[in-house]
Symmetry: C3
């Protein structure tokens, strides 16, 4: 990876993929904060997801047309799919909120999105440094450690949120709904960590 061919287009597209997710998460977080999460917001998150799919297909198509790739073909393929999963899970949270007709004004949910935004931002920075991974390995690893820390914080947040839910919410149907929403939110943080692990794996392979 020290001698990267001029195939920087893949990295550009990964950056686009991450920027799109970051926009979706920031929009989602803002709509939670301003208590403006409504049908229109659900639609807009869905649009970000479609945009993500478009970029994903563009990367896979390019992979099929490119002979020499800057990193292993299978690693590009794993990376693009794992990043896509983050966007999918953000969209699932949005869908569930809408579908389950719950009040999106929830302190824990907002905290999750503060956390998710930070994790997506750290991941975006890690990926920006990938083209010079041999020089920037330490910096990339620092971002991965930060993503890991945020995933641990998400675990604690989920525990607190669900523990609280069991104590305060007496309607079992609402318990079922919110438990799932918190779990999917936490899964979004898991998926960021999953990408970080994929990146670590790439660094290890070329170490």
């Amino acid at each position: 990876m020290g001698l990267i061919p001029k195939e920087t287009k893949f990295f550009e597209l990964f950056n686009n993929q991450m920027e799109n997710i970051l926009k979706a998460v920031s929009f989602f977080k803002k709509s939670l904060k301003e208590n403006s999460f409504n049908d229109e917001a659900v639609k807009r998150v869905k649009e970000y997801e479609h945009e993500g799919d478009t970029i994903t297909h563009e990367i896979v198509d390019m992979l099929n047309r490119t002979f020499i790739t800057p990193i292993d073909r299978e690693d590009i393929y794993m990376l693009v799919n794992n990043i896509d999963e983050i966007m999918d899970l953000i969209n699932v949270v949005s869908n569930r909120l809408n579908l389950y007709k719950v009040d999106s004004k929830d302190e824990y949910l907002y905290e999750f999105f503060v956390n998710i935004e930070e994790s997506v931002a750290a991941l975006s920075n890690a990926i920006k440094n990938l083209p010079e991974s041999s020089k920037k390995a330490t910096r990339i690893m620092d971002y991965c450690i930060e993503i890991n820390r945020l995933e641990n914080a998400g675990d604690s947040l989920r525990e607190k949120a669900i523990s609280d839910l069991f104590e305060k919410e007496k309607d079992p149907i609402k318990v079922i709904k919110w438990k799932e929403i918190y779990e999917v939110s936490e899964a979004a943080l898991d998926s960021c960590e999953h990408v970080a692990k994929t990146i670590e794996g790439i660094l290890v392979k070329h170490g």
Copy 2:
């Protein structure tokens, strides 16, 4: 993959594996349609699963006795295990229906199995074309796109089914049971998509 050795036996066994799943799914769907899903049917789905295990072991054994394989050893190994997971999940749906003592006459569940049957059939066709993957890449990709479409349809179906469940079912225990049954049914479609992704990954690697 252009120059495939005469090791076509692996592909034959993959075809057997898919045919067995297709038979299991068709049987399951029919028993749901005819409202004849009973202890006998649970036993028969279990038998299909055992047959699947036998084929799976046959492939892994052959892999351990074969020096030159038509596609990478690790890809054969991933493929056989991912296909096996489809059969496992079909069996889990059957088990849950039986174990939870719910009435299997359910419109959404039947719709899931219509969808699963189509997805398994498309996957079976994709795998039939694998031995000539360099010539048939476009056709294989078309089947993979179809499987992806069916997985998306499954997501929508699950959303509709669970949304309906929350609105109409007042017994929380029944909500818990059916929510899981719908989720496992959708997971069967996910597992088909997972195999399609593995196939895409193989094509990408040899692209």
Copy 3:
């Protein structure tokens, strides 16, 4: 793998990782049997998990500093992470028991830990034989088959436990809590099988 370089340190660390998990599981099982699972026990399981993290980081660090590895870099990386997941899930069961304020005196839960202890012990033995994998392939495969058998037994145990739960427990909140605890316990057995599959994959690759 016949000609393993003197890089036996990786295998030593894998053994340490497994031994730590085995200690955690034995302690957990004992505290369930003696009905002494309390805040102190939760803390101690957490300490085992931290110790596991330390060993995991040690292996990844060594991987980054080692040029020639006894088995493929990516396989070492997958192995260390998959083993770590077993420890994580044990800790999740402990956390949930504590968080959900349920009575840990439960026959099924104890049976799960009898099963998990056996599976972890078999995995530990499989890994002890990895340095001589070409000579000991049959023995390693036997341990993997045993782990597979225990995972199947875990599936049946979960079915029985949840079926019983649905029949006897009338409080839906308690159903939700115990269903998850049984599912995570079973996931710990799945994670053992996952490591066994990774080992099988390594044997297949070098077969």
